[in-house]
């Protein structure tokens, strides 16, 4: 078996006195798409924030390419090849598209190749090139999602964390986001995806984890979860 790119062991996290993650365990294999599905409040975003270093867990360990990053600051994680596309996109609204993208390459490891990376992002998302001098705050939700993705790619990550990338998007944009995820996997990126849109997420997933109330309730290959009676009843409405 190949060593996992990301291993999360017994992860526990809390907001003040309220514990929201209870001994969460999962692995992300290199080159795969791994999805976390579950209802609102199941703990998907908390996992993403803990892995990206935006919140400190109260227990457990996070290993990235064998290195313990549980307590590492977020900029350190970005620099070592882990990039978060946050929930709600979090673009810089008062800056132009191009400035947003260039900020994506602010980590020392990404600086040298930023112009090739910018060309690559523009090739993947021609719309961003058309809008390069527009303020990000004036763009539609779908365009902002592309920008957030492009900005994440600018950091030259090996592992991309996508937190609810389709939230609040029109169906046609949702389709496009999943298409982009397929393309990214084909280009060799490893992806950890948190998604409410369980059906499409499972169709795409090499490995999937179902979260319930801060615990992993079920795990297996995406197709297997898609066929699971519990998942079909609770999340796919069948």
């Amino acid at each position: 078996m190949i060593a996992p790119m990301l291993s999360v062991r017994n992860l526990r996290a809390a907001y003040g006195p309220v514990q929201v993650l209870f001994d969460v365990d999962f692995d992300v294999a290199p080159g795969s798409v791994t999805t976390l599905i579950g209802a609102n409040g199941a703990g998907k975003t908390t996992i993403m924030k803990s892995v990206a270093g935006l919140m400190m867990p109260i227990g457990g360990a996070i290993l990235f390419e064998g290195r313990d990053i549980t307590r590492a600051p977020s900029h350190d994680r970005v620099n070592s090849g882990l990039s978060l596309i946050p929930e709600g996109r979090l673009v810089f609204p008062g800056m132009t598209v191009e400035q947003n993208l260039r900020l994506g390459a602010i980590a020392p490891a990404a600086r040298s190749g930023h112009s090739e990376m910018l060309a690559d992002v523009f090739r993947r998302f021609p719309r961003l090139e058309e809008r390069r001098s527009q303020h990000a705050g004036l763009m539609s939700g779908g365009e902002q999602q592309m920008l957030a993705l492009g900005r994440g790619l600018m950091a030259r990550p090996r592992l991309i964390l996508m937190d609810e990338p389709t939230l609040g998007l029109a169906p046609v944009m949702v389709k496009q986001v999943f298409e982009t995820i397929r393309e990214l996997r084909a280009s060799g990126f490893t992806i950890l995806l948190a998604e409410q849109n369980a059906r499409v997420a499972l169709e795409l997933a090499d490995q999937a984890y179902l979260l319930e109330n801060g615990r992993v309730a079920l795990s297996g290959p995406g197709a297997e979860l898609l066929d699971s009676h519990d998942v079909r009843r609770a999340y796919l409405g069948m």
Binding site: Y15, G16, A52, G53, L54, P73, S74, H75, V78, N79, L84, P86, L90, V91, F92, P93, G94, M95, Q99, R102, L103, G104, I106, A107, A110, R111, H135, G137, L138, R151, M154, A155
Partner: protein, 295 residues
């Protein structure tokens, strides 16, 4: 009418405007990146002024050299405040939520301590010294050398900072933190480093402003508070956390004040400044130069 068109008033307006812009710049940087309301900001101006005064009268060190010393001293103070007080507060989410309100009280305490320590050490006698106070006349405008120097240094620091924010990578990170702190962390900005260097830089700028003020004004332990007030007025007129707009607003306030007084009388100074302040708050509370695209 002739006096209004003469360069004399314009020069006076630019001198005070550049100082307002400089004092407000430091406050705006600290507020923008750390969300700390530094009520002790004017006291850093006072510390800079005392540094220049003592260096000049004891060792005949010219104010241009004291600029560096005052900047270093105030930057050190900024480091002490950040490492000693705020790093812990900002790291705890429940405390960080209230950091804005708490910082007001904490800095008020720091202000009282700084003022009284200074009064204890140097007495509250007002001090002053003479440096470059000969009058130069150019194109019918009479200027003293120290005011010309003050304008030159203040404007250079203001525009230098703007260029730095625009073209240096660290400046980009700083702007990202001001605009959206969490997003800045997401792209990999070293938040701790940006915050520490910004508080040091913001404090240093106030100290340098103090050196410039000391060349033309009386120095007392309690001279700082009016600068705090003016700095707050300027950054609120410009838009909180908007660095370029704050600098523009500083110059605007200098122009309004100087030309307003020339048209009325010095007794109207406060009415002019606060009138502009209240007017901006009523018409455009987000600041007159703030772009509308912020969401």
């Amino acid at each position: 009418m002739d006096t209004l068109l003469s360069g004399q008033l314009l020069f006076a307006a630019l001198v005070s405007g550049s100082l307002y812009a400089l004092v407000a710049l430091g406050l705006n940087l600290v507020y923008g990146t750390l969300r700390l309301l530094n009520i002790a900001h004017g006291d850093l101006v006072m510390i800079g002024a005392y540094t220049a005064f003592w260096m000049f009268s004891l060792f005949a060190v010219p104010p241009l050299v004291s600029l560096v010393l005052a900047a270093a001293l105030c930057a050190l103070l900024g480091w002490a405040v950040y490492a000693g007080l705020f790093r812990r507060m900002l790291a705890k989410p429940d405390l960080a939520k209230r950091v804005e309100a708490n910082s007001l009280i904490l800095f008020y305490g720091i202000s009282v301590i700084l003022q009284n320590l200074t009064a204890l050490a140097f007495s509250s006698t007002s001090r002053g010294y003479q440096y470059l106070d000969t009058v130069i006349t150019w194109q019918g405008i009479s200027m003293t050398g120290n005011r010309l120097l003050s304008l030159g240094v203040a404007a250079t620091i203001c525009f230098g900072t703007l260029l730095f924010l625009r073209f240096h990578l660290f400046g980009w990170g700083l702007r990202a933190v001001i605009e959206r702190r969490e997003a800045a962390q997401v792209v990999g900005v070293n938040l701790n480093r940006v915050q520490l260097l910004t508080i040091c830089g913001g404090f240093a700028v106030a100290g340098m402003a103090g050196v410039l003020v000391s060349m033309t004004e009386q120095i007392t332990p309690f001279m700082g508070f009016p600068f705090t007030i003016v700095a707050f007025v300027v950054i609120i007129i410009g838009g909180l956390g908007n660095i370029g707009a704050g600098i523009l607003a500083g110059f605007c306030l200098g122009l309004v004040e100087t030309f307003g007084i020339a048209l009325t009388s010095p007794g109207y100074r406060s009415i002019l400044i606060y009138g502009l302040f209240v007017g901006v708050l009523m018409v455009r509370p987000e600041g007159i130069f703030t772009k509308a695209v912020r969401s």
